[in-house]
């Protein structure tokens, strides 16, 4: 093992971070291709420009696969964090393509899946809910005296919802070991953040709940890693709920259907210049942590990995439609529509559809 280069990370770890950034981007680019080919029927939400926030944050936590580590609730724009927590790349593609082989067997989309052994709890679409849920997860850590923390990502305008405030207040009051990552990417679909809040930094909202907070450049993966390391240390030390604000920019539309024509091109160009992968590459090379040839290999590996598993997932089956009635309850049968079984009830009244 080589010596620590920065912030306690060695070369392998730094390159692991780099891999996480390029893997996220490659996976999402692959998704776009699959969508154009008709394999992905749902929406795609790109995280280009935000990869460092997801990777840097997840990298600072204790990631285990045996149900003893920290917890992560990512957003759809934090897929990199999901991968770092052990979320399988092939499952990512299966989920987007609604394959029977995916973790939700086609019943849910994209990164909405869970793996409690790995500490992954995928989000739901209503905003703010996961903050409430993570408050309960981390409450259980507190109740059981476990040294674990839970991280929950939210878009900045989730902080407009009641769920966000109720969940954050509950967590703060109970001193839950929860780290809230606010993705301040300056847009809520087509509405600019300044139209959704009067605060200049979301850490001002943290002050309203008496919790610790920090604002960080979300394009700088090392800065994110260090800020979240500090937050995790505080949370683990019993100092309760923490917030870390990630300042960056949503460089593509809300989803693929959004042409982003409401964005000032100059502003966008400025943020393209602050691409988190480019910035990290420059830093690695300037500091001499690795050679360009090494980085090149990592990029190629990420792209090949995505291609390979995307092909695998594409070839896998979609679920049988009749599976739709299963899994509503642990123990109660959901009926098939009688028109799909053996006709209307018979005149002798004997039971059908059982």
């Amino acid at each position: 093992m080589s010596d620590s280069l920065i912030a306690g990370l060695d070369q392998t770890q730094l390159l692991g971070l780099y891999h996480s950034l390029v893997l996220t981007r490659a996976a999402e680019e692959r998704l776009e291709m699959l969508q154009k080919q008709g394999h992905v029927t749902g929406e795609i939400y790109r995280s280009i420009g935000q990869e460092a926030g997801a990777a840097g944050a997840a990298f600072a936590l204790n990631r285990q696969t045996d149900g003893t580590g920290d917890f992560l609730a990512p957003t759809v724009r934090a897929a990199g964090a999901l991968f770092l927590f052990g979320g399988e790349l092939v499952d990512f593609f299966r989920q987007y393509m609604g394959r029977a082989t995916g973790p939700t067997e086609g019943k849910e989309a994209n990164i909405h899946w869970v793996d409690f052994q790995k500490g992954i709890i995928g989000p739901v679409s209503p905003l703010g809910t996961m903050l409430e849920v993570m408050a309960g997860i981390t409450l259980s850590f507190k109740v059981r005296g476990e040294s674990r923390v839970g991280m929950v990502f939210c878009g900045d305008d989730a902080s407009s919802t009641g769920a966000w405030h109720e969940g954050l207040n509950f967590s703060a009051v109970q001193r839950c070991p929860l780290i809230l990552m606010v993705e301040a990417n300056q847009w809520a679909f087509s509405t600019a953040t300044r139209k959704n809040t009067r605060v200049r930094s979301f850490t001002e909202k943290a002050a309203g709940y008496g919790i610790g907070s920090e604002s960080v450049d979300g394009t700088d993966v090392m800065a994110v890693y260090e800020a979240v390391s500090r937050a995790a240390k505080r949370a683990r030390a019993g100092k309760g709920t923490q917030m870390v604000e990630l300042r960056y920019y949503r460089r593509l539309g809300y989803a693929q259907h959004d042409p982003q024509d409401y964005v000032d091109p100059d502003e966008l160009a400025m943020w393209v210049d602050r691409d988190p992968i480019d910035l990290f590459e420059r830093r690695i090379l300037e500091e001499g942590w690795a050679a360009e040839s090494v980085l090149h290999k990592i990029r190629i590996r990420a792209e090949e990995e995505c291609k390979l598993v995307a092909e695998q997932a594409t070839g896998e089956p979609v679920p049988d439609g009749r599976e739709a009635v299963k899994g509503v309850y642990t123990d109660t049968i959901t009926q098939h529509p009688w028109t799909r079984t053996d006709g209307p009830y018979r005149r002798d009244g004997s039971e059908l559809n059982t």
């Binding site: 739901v124 209503p126 409430e132 259980s140 769920a163 207040n169 009051v173 642990t330 109660t332 005149r347």
Partner: protein
Amino acid sequence: MNQPAPEHLKKTARGEPVTLLEAVSEGLFEEMVRDDSVFLMGEDIGVYGGAFKVTRGFLDYFGGLRVIDTPIAEGGFTGAAAGAAHMGLRPVVEMQFMDFISPAYDVLTNYIATSLYRGAGPMPIVVRGPVGGGNRGGPFHSQNVEMAFFHTPGFKIVYPSTAYDAKGLMKAAIRDDNPVIFEEHKALYRAPTLREVLPDEDYVVPLGKARTVREGSDLTLVTYGAMVHKSIEAAKKLEQEDGVGVEIIDLRTLLPLDEDAIVESLKRTGRVLIVHEDTRTGGIAGEIAIRLNERAFEWLDAPILRVTAIDSPVPYAGSLEDYFLPQVEDIVTAGRYLAAY
């Protein structure tokens, strides 16, 4: 936890009769003793013991990690219950009045009810609290909330009418791996006529099973909650004054609905009257009627009718609330009509 249970929670052990409220308390208490993953969250349930004192003495006995006084934010603490349930705990969440479950509607319907189906695992959560009218509580302290959740796949809904059932159903609800909405009628909480001596043993009333309150051959009354008792009064009157034999089915659990029990009764009587305290439009009577239409049309000798509250918010003034609520005379009138059909 070696200290003795509070005296007021040992009535059954002493062979004394309990009210429905005391039965709920005993059920909760015994489940918390039996299983240390069961814990309580809600407003004023700890120090104060709950607005109706259902959890009086619990905080001292179980401590603040298992009896949690929450901020007044039903969505927030219900969502936290979901997170705790993910981690293997079994939260019982109190709504101070069930009318206040609405702020938690999002997390209940979108998150909790869908969790298992989304592959996110079971949600062993009970959301319980006082419901129902007749106490001059006005629009926000009197509602029945069952049908707001009846339409969402994933829930079970329980609504006991006796002390025995309340305790047994509470235990079954807590042990169930699915989210359960548990409604406790305020007018039944301390009703002296409902006091009964419960078996001093660990019994469970299974969810999804109706109870035949009384048998009769001419007419089936399908009902639940406080209306069970009004239906019994009406049935006695119909029998005495009209010679009509009335069978009463107490649903006890609304989801899953014990369709078989209703169908079997209908096959004996040929006539069905559904009585519920909830408002008329979108009430459970509509669902029961269509199921009987699907399954037992041939046995019907008369139309299926219903007696329900009127379609309005719950009014405050006694004269208005009495008019709003279904009364014994309404049930007698409808029963008479059906018997003569």
